[in-house]
Symmetry: C2
Subunit: 355 residues, 2 copies
């Protein structure tokens, strides 16, 4: 049997209330008594039973997710992962609310963070836009003692407690490594399609990509900025494919892949040897299967949401997380290892009572 508060009380010769006070760092205990209790705690190797504590407190963790609005497929997928989490949350005593703000709008995001602070949630998760007003609002949250987890898109480390997302430099390098091998040994010309170079994720991916591709002698054409807009992407890529018939690869490091895919479909004969994009959505998945795209780098939105919740809970409780479990992988999908289409949860046979 694991030791309980009673064991501590007996060992230290005090009452349960006093033990509870020192366990929860509450005032009103003489220093000497506190020391005795703490000695007892470590002597018998006590560890608090969080489930029992939460039961007694009728505690519910209230978390707030702040996501960008708009029709970005990845973000909408992320939102539906949050909704799934909301449904599951009750059984774990967590209540999740969700608000959306206009994408890339630093002022709105900062306002949302300030509004969040007023609500005094147990934690906040946000798809960040790295701008001074957002950083300032994040610091205000920190001062209010509210843990903040950045999701997908990060802020400087001192502004948040944890980042649930991928290493974008490594992702760019990975795309570059695949590009080098897919495009073949002889140096060629490679195009990069980006959302906006103002977003840090995109800059980092480009940087990593350059690191990996440059040594092989390939030429990287001037970056095409489509601002995550499918129509713009289609126009730019269409023009590219006619101007550069010998193109050996395209790396699409942002959103707006619908446009890229449409342009490739129109000119299938002129398709470069290697096309690599980010985020597995219905569109990129179909393009992989149709062999219009060769590889998709992905971050698992479901994992990111679950991880954010676990980390916020751990922060609220002041306990450690399993680092390996919270590392978001850079998934590489080829048409050969596509997971089954997004499904709901499993429905097991409710066994009466095994053991």
């Amino acid at each position: 049997m694991r030791p309980t508060v009673h064991d501590i009380a007996a060992e230290a010769g005090v009452s349960l209330a006093t033990v509870d006070r020192v366990l929860n760092r509450r005032p009103g205990v003489k220093a000497a008594t506190r020391a005795r209790v703490e000695a007892a705690i470590s002597a018998i190797g006590y560890e608090r039973d969080m489930a029992a504590a939460n039961l007694a407190k009728s505690r519910v963790y209230s978390f707030l997710f702040i996501l960008p609005s708009g029709d970005n497929s990845f973000m909408r997928g992320l939102e539906s992962r949050v909704h799934e989490a909301v449904r599951r949350a009750a059984v774990d005593r967590v209540a999740i609310s969700l608000v959306t703000v206009p994408p890339f709008d630093a002022a709105s995001l900062a306002a949302a963070l300030d509004a969040a602070r007023e609500l005094q949630p147990a934690g906040v998760a946000v798809v960040a836009v790295d701008a001074p007003e957002v950083e300032a609002a994040a610091m205000r949250l920190k001062e209010a003692g509210i843990p903040l987890v950045t999701l997908v898109s990060d802020l400087p480390a001192e502004c948040r407690s944890h980042f649930a997302g991928i290493d974008n430099i490594a992702a760019g390098r990975t795309a570059g490594g695949l590009m080098r091998r897919f495009a073949g040994p002889e140096p060629g010309r490679i195009a990069v399609l980006a959302g906006s170079m103002r977003v840090i994720d995109h800059r980092e991916r480009l940087e990593g990509f350059r690191q990996a591709v440059a040594p092989a002698g390939h030429v990287i054409l001037p970056v095409l900025e489509a601002h995550d807009d499918p129509a713009a992407a289609e126009r730019l890529v269409g023009a590219l494919l006619t101007q550069e018939p010998e193109l050996s690869g395209i790396y699409s490091l942002g959103a707006g892949n619908r446009g890229l895919i449409a342009a490739l479909r129109l000119q299938k004969q002129a398709r470069p040897r290697a096309v690599i994009a980010h985020e597995l959505t219905a569109h990129t998945r179909a393009a992989l299967e149709a062999e219009l795209i060769d590889a998709v780098l992905n971050q698992d939105a479901g994992h990111e949401v679950r991880s954010a919740i676990r980390v916020l809970k751990a922060r609220a409780d002041g306990v450690a997380v399993i680092a390996a479990q919270e590392r978001i992988r850079i998934d590489i999908f080829l048409k050969d290892n596509l997971p089954f289409a997004e499904g709901g949860d499993e429905a097991p046979a409710p066994s009466p009572d095994a053991a």
Copy 2:
């Protein structure tokens, strides 16, 4: 506030004890009463608070892991992931024991499963060897009502409740897809290094690999069986490299990669264009960094262990799992997206009490 047993009792006009009897499907309740209670339960949308239930029961889930002994790097890594889980387990009321049996030894494994059954654990996880006596022992566990999760290596679906491992056919296809692209457009000769064709995982990987590689016109040389033995692998690959100077690729689908790597290191000039192996270990990691291997397909042993525990717990409780969370990915590692070396857990600042 979520409804509790008291609410059910009030709604149905019975006592707590009766509610408890129908909740836990225990006898001693008149059919009519039972019906009233069940009506009340679904009327108010009751969901049991597992944390409170476990507290009242002082329940501890006892799970048993059965792993192969031997010096296979992947299996030893798996074992250390189990040890980590053992350490963390107490706080979740789970007690994990671990036993090892000689690798590929069906009789010993079957005996271990039977011994496990005697202990009446709440669940068993096993790296299976698919043999008749093992299947029989698995069925006996099932009849005893003890959930069984296969880990890494599967059994027929009717013998176990869940498989925590990768889809090996898809893994083979993935290796083939990479091979086709890495080896270049012109058809070439490709070697396959296997452990033993008697293991189902290896047969499946080969099958998937063939599916993906054959259409491109490559020739797959007769499979080299090294029985997961580094020395044998080194000999076989050494001979191969001298006999086949024009080799375009090697796919190592089993263990014993140390030997493969040693042979490649010795004859670096004769290195084929594409070398693909399985499982990220210290050896394959170093070989990726040294560019002796181009890609490593991996299954995350830590994820597999955590998943097995979650699934066993869910089975014991008769609740659903999050399917997406329990799907084990086929990770693709290039030198560009290697994760940081295996580390311990994070040490957070224990915040006093946030919200």
